[in-house]
């Protein structure tokens, strides 16, 4: 009963574990791949939805789409489904794509391919008709349209132009995604604040308008085309139940319950615009640094009457229409008369009537070193006025200072102060330039850093380990030889027997020969089996050898040999028989040793 219960639980568990696994298994014979589109004819303002359905498996790589130069392609997610119909299980996965048409005409969507288990499946090609927008007139009461305009159709290099993009929509719009086409190669751009939203009546129809303006500064001369701006958006159409007879429908059409909305994804394009960028005229004044716009420059001194060692601040302000960020002013040349400490310039930039205006303030702390009257040099700022098409030079007024000598007491202070200030105001070492450090030329550094080979690593790594285990074995063997008598006797049995047999040859004629031979053999067997070999009889030797798993024939041969030796101890032996007996004993010991 308990077993049944566990079997059922195990089956449930296995089914849970295997279900997701099975869902990923492909059913090779039933795999099919199809491509579908939501429409085959659309306007350039619409979006095409392409779905690639892989039937029969869910574990596939994403499809490889064909080349689609006429569309901008965006993935729109995947969905998978599993169905059971009459115990038949079918799985599928759908890859969705959003295709935004980029041009009109007849377009063929080639076969998309999917590789599954080494096989390639292709979809059928689809032909799509892309038409122009149904009505190009913006006053024809369209739900939504866009327009773009440029402040001027021509301008100088570096002149600020204003690009304005407007979206008009009668109904709610969301998920706006605007792409402005400016190429950084042709224009430098600056935002002119946040987008504006307002209402406008066109031909009696109220439109919501979203307006975005941007300052663009042409970087290259010539006729430049600004391509269309593209905005993608979802238009929300509110629908009502047409069955006005139905009181429930009327009830639920009340705004309190919200209304059903239908979403339409649209892609709207503005017209492309052209601008003729003119080069700056020749005859630029000396010191002109590509400053375009209309600027003023002024200077102000903090304190005009001062003594040697005092500090005053010279403030130079550049303001006007154009990019003031790039304005630079060189430090006035007042060497030997003043110590000059320039401050970090401050920049303020505003947008006034879609024009970038700004102010950049430079400050210099001046410390007079010598007494007398001194006139500060003028600051000069050449610029090109695009409105008048001429170069101008803005200048500051001259400023004259009257520097008095310092009093005695202060003179002393001045010396002291100078020393302190030398410590305190010592300028940091400035980095004047940056460069790379030199190349290496020492040949000692020029060695190969190739990665070690795997063989080298393997051998170097394993060598000490192998050596260690060999050493460990040797130590254990030595210890065993030292402390394990049986082991020691067994290891030396053959060596000792051999040595004694060699020593015996000189006494081959002696009657003692057979007795000694018998003793050597019994001694050998005694050492091998850890017995007192000299004391055992031939029968006992046979029994012991059999017990120690020697072959019965070897045990029997040994017994017979020992008996033969006993016989020869009491019989006369000639030279031939002793030599024969000796050879027989050597052979027997060798055979036993091999066991």
């Amino acid at each position: 009963m308990i077993l049944k219960k566990y079997t059922a639980s195990l089956a449930i568990l296995l089914s849970f574990l295997l279900t997701p696994a099975l869902s990923t298994i492909g059913f090779g014979n039933n795999i099919s791949v199809t491509a579908t589109v939501d429409k085959t004819s659309l306007s350039i303002e619409d979006v095409l939805r392409l779905s690639i359905v892989i039937q029969g498996t869910q574990n596939t790589p994403p499809p490889e789409l064909p080349s689609l130069p006429s569309f901008r392609v965006a993935a729109a997610g995947t969905s998978s489904s599993t169905q059971y119909i009459n115990t038949q299980r079918s799985v599928s996965i759908t890859h969705n794509y959003r295709l935004t048409p980029m041009k009109t005409g007849t377009v063929r969507i080639g076969p998309a391919r999917v590789r599954i288990n080494g096989d390639t499946y292709s979809t059928q090609p689809i032909t799509i008709e892309i038409q122009k927008s149904s009505n190009n007139s913006r006053t024809a009461g369209k739900t939504a349209f866009v327009e773009a305009e440029l402040s001027s159709k021509k301008g100088y290099i570096g002149e600020q132009l204003v690009y304005t993009f407007r979206l008009f929509h009668r109904i709610d719009a969301k998920n706006l995604n605007l792409q402005l086409p400016f190429d950084s190669k042709w224009f430098h751009k600056e935002n002119l604040g946040e987008p504006k939203a307002y209402l406008k009546i066109i031909n009696g129809i109220k439109y919501h308008v979203q307006e975005l303006s941007m300052a663009i500064f042409p970087l290259m001369e010539g006729l430049i085309t600004i391509p269309s701006s593209i905005i993608e958006l979802d238009l929300l159409y509110k629908t009502q139940n047409r069955n006005r007879q139905d009181p429930f429908s009327q009830f639920f059409n009340d705004p309190f319950f919200g209304q059903r909305t239908q979403v339409q994804h649209k892609v709207l394009r503005s017209k492309s615009l052209e601008v003729n960028v003119l080069p700056l005229p020749k005859g630029a004044p000396k010191g002109f640094k590509n400053l375009i716009g209309e600027f003023k420059i002024s200077s102000k001194l903090g304190k005009r009457n001062l003594e040697v060692g005092d500090t005053t601040t010279l403030t130079v302000t550049v303001s006007g229409r154009g990019d003031v960020k790039g304005v630079t002013i060189e430090e006035p040349d007042l060497k030997n008369h003043f110590k000059i400490y320039p401050d970090k310039p401050e920049v303020k930039q505003i947008v006034d009537k879609k024009q970038i205006r700004g102010e950049k303030v430079f400050k210099f702390a001046l410390v007079p070193l010598v007494e007398g009257s001194k006139t500060l040099p003028q600051f000069i700022l050449p610029y090109f006025d695009t409105n008048k098409g001429q170069y101008y030079i803005a200048k500051t007024q001259s400023i004259t200072l009257d520097i008095k000598p310092s009093s005695t007491k202060e003179k002393l202070n001045l010396v002291k102060s100078n020393q302190q200030s030398l410590k305190k105001d010592k300028p940091e070492v400035q980095t004047l330039g940056k460069d790379i450090l030199p190349i290496y030329t020492e040949l000692d550094e020029f060695k190969n850093n190739d990665t070690y080979s795997l063989t080298f690593i393997g051998v170097t790594f394993s060598s000490p380990i192998i050596l260690f285990f060999i050493l460990l074995f040797l130590i254990k063997w030595k210890n065993r030889m030292k402390y394990d008598v049986a082991f020691y006797r067994r290891r030396n049995a053959f060596k000792n027997a051999n040595q004694r047999l060699k020593d015996m040859k000189d006494h081959s004629k002696s009657k003692e020969f057979a007795r000694q031979l018998s003793e050597i053999l019994r001694g050998y067997i005694g050492d091998k089996l850890n017995l007192k070999g000299k004391a055992i009889t031939a029968e006992e030797v046979e029994a012991c050898l059999k017990e120690s798993n020697y072959q019965p024939s070897q045990a029997e041969d040994t017994r017979k040999f020992l008996e033969k030796c006993e016989t020869f101890q009491y019989a006369r032996m000639n030279l031939g028989s002793t030599e024969e007996l000796l050879d027989e004993s050597v052979t027997l010991i060798k055979v036993l040793e091999k066991q």
């Binding site: 569309f71 392609v73 965006a74 030199p438 060695k447 063989t455 080298f456």
Partner: protein, 248 residues
Amino acid sequence: MKYSNTITSFLFIFLILFKLPVEASDYRNEFVHANNLYSKKQYAKSANAYETLIQKGVRNGYLFYNLGNAYIRMGETGSAILNYVRAKSLIPRDENLAANLKFAIQQTLDKIEPPPLGTLNILFFWVNDFSLNELIFFSLCLNFIFWVNLALWLYFPSLKIARNALLFVLLLSFISVGIKIKNESDLKLGVILAENIEVKSGHSLDTITLFQLHEGALVTIIGKRNGWLEVRLNEKQKGWIPENSLGI
């Protein structure tokens, strides 16, 4: 006689087992020649000479460093960064290399943060300061010392020379080698060599341009398909670029 034969056989086996790498010292004259070309401000020729040495199989951090310098002088920031990065894997603690790499990165247009360090790299902070060879060499030395220590312990059981501490350091060194190998296989850095490249949403020219990168930008390579490489700038920005626009 018996021992000398054993040693000779061992050396013979050793020589067969270890394929000897290209020895840099064989090309010293060519290295000097390339350096001389650089000193004479013939940067293109010196870069060519350094490249030839690399093609011959010489792997030396200072060679890659010098080649990077030659490319910087030629105005090829992308190639310079690529060779500095290659040099960094061989001589990771070289200060001149760090300074020149920083200089080269400052010349690029894109502001790109280095790939974030994983938890393992934070724990094993020293891994990035050593080359793979150095870490392997250190591990092999430690391995040798550890087993010698064990052998000594067999003869002199009373001698316990910090056996456990050695084992711990040995394991750390093995893990360090593992992390380094993983970093070098996972964090494959590439450098944009084209002046300007559009990073696409898929491995096809007609897919959406996600962003643009400029010469010298460092990216992490995370995939490859049909002659396109999937690259990642950070957690949010990744895309596909043609394989030939990237130096690895």
